[in-house]
Amino acid sequence: MSSLAAREAYKDELTKLAADNANIICLEADLGGKEHPFQQSYPDRFFNLGIAELASVGIAAGLSKAGFVPFFSTFASFAALRAAEGVKLALGYMGENIKIVAAYGGVSGGWFGTTHHCLEDIAVIQTFQNIRIACPHGEAETRRVVQEAAASNEPYYIRLSRNDKFDSLARDGSGSCRELLFEGAVRSDALLCLVSIGEQATEICSQIYKENERVNHAHLCYVDRDSLKRYKAELQAAAGTLLVVEEHRASGGTASSLALLLPESRVYSHDCGEAWPIYGGSHADVLHYLGFGYEALTRQIAELGGDTDDF
């Protein structure tokens, strides 16, 4: 088990990067927690802008224009929905070098309820065009995505969960997270390929991959349209049927993007359906209520390919 949840890994990695990059600015919106490592190491470049997400994106745009690399972190719902117009203009249209780090993606907020869930962010951000979208899984991948974002001049939206801790899937030391990652060897006789996005989805798909020898597992860290185009050939080679597993609504999710990019493939979606969560509980509890998880996915695989035993 990794020692850090993704959003803690983000803070730590950004603080390390700031040592060699004086242009990195850390912006928080009253959700970064006390004793933020960046604030402790670089107080002059750390700004808790308070509960003002829309203004924060505008301020980040001005900082970017002045040559800085602002990383702005808040919860996904506040970044992608409340501040949506600022993100559209500053990151999408103007292409400013802003990195949004959005914790509480999906329903990782669990019992905090619908105001603190975000099952729409990928669709919204994807619609704005030109924004690199990353959904890292586990500490190592999160660290690498933060490194890649800092090294890039592109606007980024990085979706994280809450406090779960995961080991990332093994990736070559020099490999970019923009490379599609297959778990294990690609099985030539697979009936379908699971395509996982985000932490919970990747964990579930990894479990099924280990149990079923007739499925492949492709993990996508980057899901912006430009990155998805790069994955086309590899995904087509992995299986004729793709089952995209993503903690998101079906509308505007990665399955719908891949279906448009791969019209010759059969693309299915395991997503969070159409219901609004009304109960509390853990992240897993809320996912279960929405019909997302290991059991539901196993049933869906069976429906697509026959009985589970066929795999």
Partner: protein, 268 residues
């Protein structure tokens, strides 16, 4: 009016600026005569503020001037043209199918740092620029030129809150107080009483000026050093064109070439 800034005596430089403002007004009228028309009322109220701001800062690479009330794009284009920042005459193609002179400021053009028009965003952008200059320890300033109607947007006050909280004292917020908005008078729609006190409560130094007096404008556009600065510039919608001066319904207009000629002849 509680005018805290006195106009300097006339000089050759001031005469030159008055000529630029006059030429810019003529250009705005020409844009109103284009097939699309333009936001003429607010463009004529803000043009002196733009001429003054560029006169003072257009050679300063560390200062950003952002027209946040982006619907007055015609005035921004006219001002940038007067200062040679734009080489093409905006009145020749404004609103056209192949023209970059769109109805709200087009950041593909030189001198336009951000896409404004959806109100409030330019204010936050300028504050961010100012913060960047402060971090770089330059003398640069972030100047947002907004409208009084724009102050109905929460984003303006969200930004004002942050500016004082983060001590961004090289930020200047110029408010074109023309008293009008799209559907009529602010006073009838959503009034802004005690505006000076509001900005003071947000930690700003406040100056009130005649927004058509270039001497006052230039004198006022000096960062305070201790506090962020709000300049409440009292202006007249449609200023310079007697037929529409003070008329809140002159927010947007398309006029004939004949009317345009008449209005240009009557410019004062």
């Amino acid at each position: 009016m509680d005018t805290l800034v006195q106009s300097p005596s006339h000089s050759a430089e001031l005469e030159e600026l008055l000529a630029k403002a006059q030429a810019a007004r003529s250009s705005i009228i020409d844009m109103a005569a284009r097939e699309t028309g333009c936001h003429i009322g607010g463009s004529l109220s803000v043009i002196d503020l733009l001429i003054g701001a560029y006169a003072k800062y257009h050679h300063d690479a560390d200062t950003a001037i952002v027209l946040s009330k982006g619907h007055s794009a015609a005035s921004l284009y006219a001002a940038l043209y007067q200062y040679g920042i734009l080489s093409d005459d905006p009145a020749a193609s404004y609103g056209g199918a192949d023209s970059l002179f769109t109805g709200h400021p087009n950041p593909k053009l030189p001198g336009i740092p951000f896409a404004t028009g959806s109100l409030g965003h330019g204010v936050a952008y300028a504050a961010g620029w100012a913060l960047g200059q402060k971090l770089r320890r330059t003398s640069g300033v972030g100047i947002a030129i907004g409208g009084d109607g724009e102050l109905q947007e929460g984003l303006c006050w969200e930004t004002a809150q942050l500016v004082q909280a983060k001590d961004i004292t090289n930020f200047i917020y110029v408010v074109d107080c023309n008293g009008g908005q799209n559907d009529g008078l602010l006073a009838d729609i959503s009034p802004l009483p005690n505006l000076r006190e509001r900005f003071e409560a947000f930690g700003f130094r406040v100056k009130e000026i005649d927004g058509h007096d270039l001497g006052q404008i230039i004198a006022a556009l000096e960062p305070d050093g201790e506090k962020p600065l709000a300049i409440l510039a009292h202006t007249v919608k449609g200023k310079g064109v007697a037929a529409i001066e003070g008329n809140p319904h002159a927010h947007y207009a398309k006029i004939s070439e004949k009317i345009a000629l008449k209005w240009k002849r009557g410019l004062q």
